[in-house]
Subunit: 223 residues, 2 copies
């Protein structure tokens, strides 16, 4: 029996570009310049790994004080942009289809639940496990987040389909021995997701929903 | 003798993500929702073709009044974001290298020169031909823009290296029988640019500058 572990940020709601802008603004406010495309390719990494990635890109150390300041500034700027963020087409229908078919799912996010709650309220997610970075010892692309979500669903990792929008999701899914399914919603190219291990790549939740049979889930359509 | 035709927006200055946000906001202000990643993949198309692309994505007709309103709203929002836009690392050095080596270049942009002037002022572009959409009959990926730039440089298209950041640049370069060189600065993946015809793909102007010999230009480094 297949169960789903769903990334949230950038997979169910259109938040990646707001995160890019928020990090770019936070960095600039600290006197640090980093090109938008380089920030974009890091989104989906969890906080502490993102800091290491930024250090590499900026070729300088970010001490704890500066890292904390960046995270705070990012949070504030992201909150300002939040009102423009919408769920992706098909996101709610996809969740409903899983629920109606009795397919269990969990949400697994590297984001901050406090930042994300207003966005989660845009969808009826249902009474499902929600696992966040603080529940596990190591950030994506470490498999810990997805393994914990699988455990809470009572499934072995091999029974899990991980749906995500970033290469970090696909790498973590592969390391968890789960099946990674990529969405183009994060602005990565199909080839990038495939090379990171995606079993299939769909445009968005609407397209994934119409192709659930390709990942082994049978949905009886009443429409 | 090789000469260069350089895209500006997203290739020399970090403006693509600001355009994505500006179009997204403009569409929302008109009651139209389109995911950021879908808008992102259209940036670099010129105005009229972009409108057709948006029609396809939105699956509805945008009449002239609405198209005009969208363009105005985009222009206003883009102007608000302009102060956060910087040249890419190496952009000025790249232009200086070409100039010092006696390699001629032109700027060819699908953007609006009025919107772009404040960004052009961030760089010393020099006294070179600047060709914009209004100078040619058809928008990128039609080759007209690059062909006109080649003509103004007094070069045949086959002698031209087009540097751009979008698949539309690479497609137009190919149709112009010029050599397309892609930069990752627009947020496209290497594979997307290569499949669109890029002869080589570099991260940004700084990396291109260090590899100019790969496109047949010899720069004597004094450093």
């Amino acid at each position: 029996m297949t169960a789903f572990v769903l990334d949230f940020d950038g997979t169910l709601v259109d938040s990646v570009y707001a995160h890019v802008a928020a990090w770019h603004g936070a960095l600039r406010e600290c006197g640090l310049d980093l090109a938008m495309w380089r920030i974009h390719r890091k989104i989906g990494m969890s906080g502490s790994l993102l800091m290491r990635a930024l250090e590499t890109e900026l070729d300088r150390k970010l001490d704890d004080d500066l890292a904390d300041r960046l995270k705070k500034l990012h949070g504030r700027r992201f909150a300002e942009l939040r009102s423009s963020i919408q769920p992706f087409p098909g996101a709610q229908d996809f969740l409903n289809d899983l629920r109606n078919a009795g397919v269990r799912y969990a949400i697994a996010t590297s984001g901050n639940l406090q930042d994300l709650q207003p966005l989660m309220d845009l969808l009826e997610i249902g009474d499902v496990p929600i696992v966040s970075q603080k529940d596990v010892p190591a950030p994506k692309p470490d498999p810990a987040l997805f393994l914990e979500a699988a455990k809470r669903l009572g499934h072995s990792p091999g029974e899990i389909v991980v749906v995500g929008d970033s290469v970090w999701d696909m790498l973590a899914a592969r390391r968890a021995h789960a099946l990674g399914v990529g969405l183009l919603t994060g602005g990565y190219a199909e080839d990038e997701l495939t090379r990171a291990g995606a079993y299939r790549v769909y445009a968005d939740p609407a397209q994934l929903r119409r192709h659930l049979h390709e990942v082994g889930v049978q949905i009886d359509r009443k429409e």
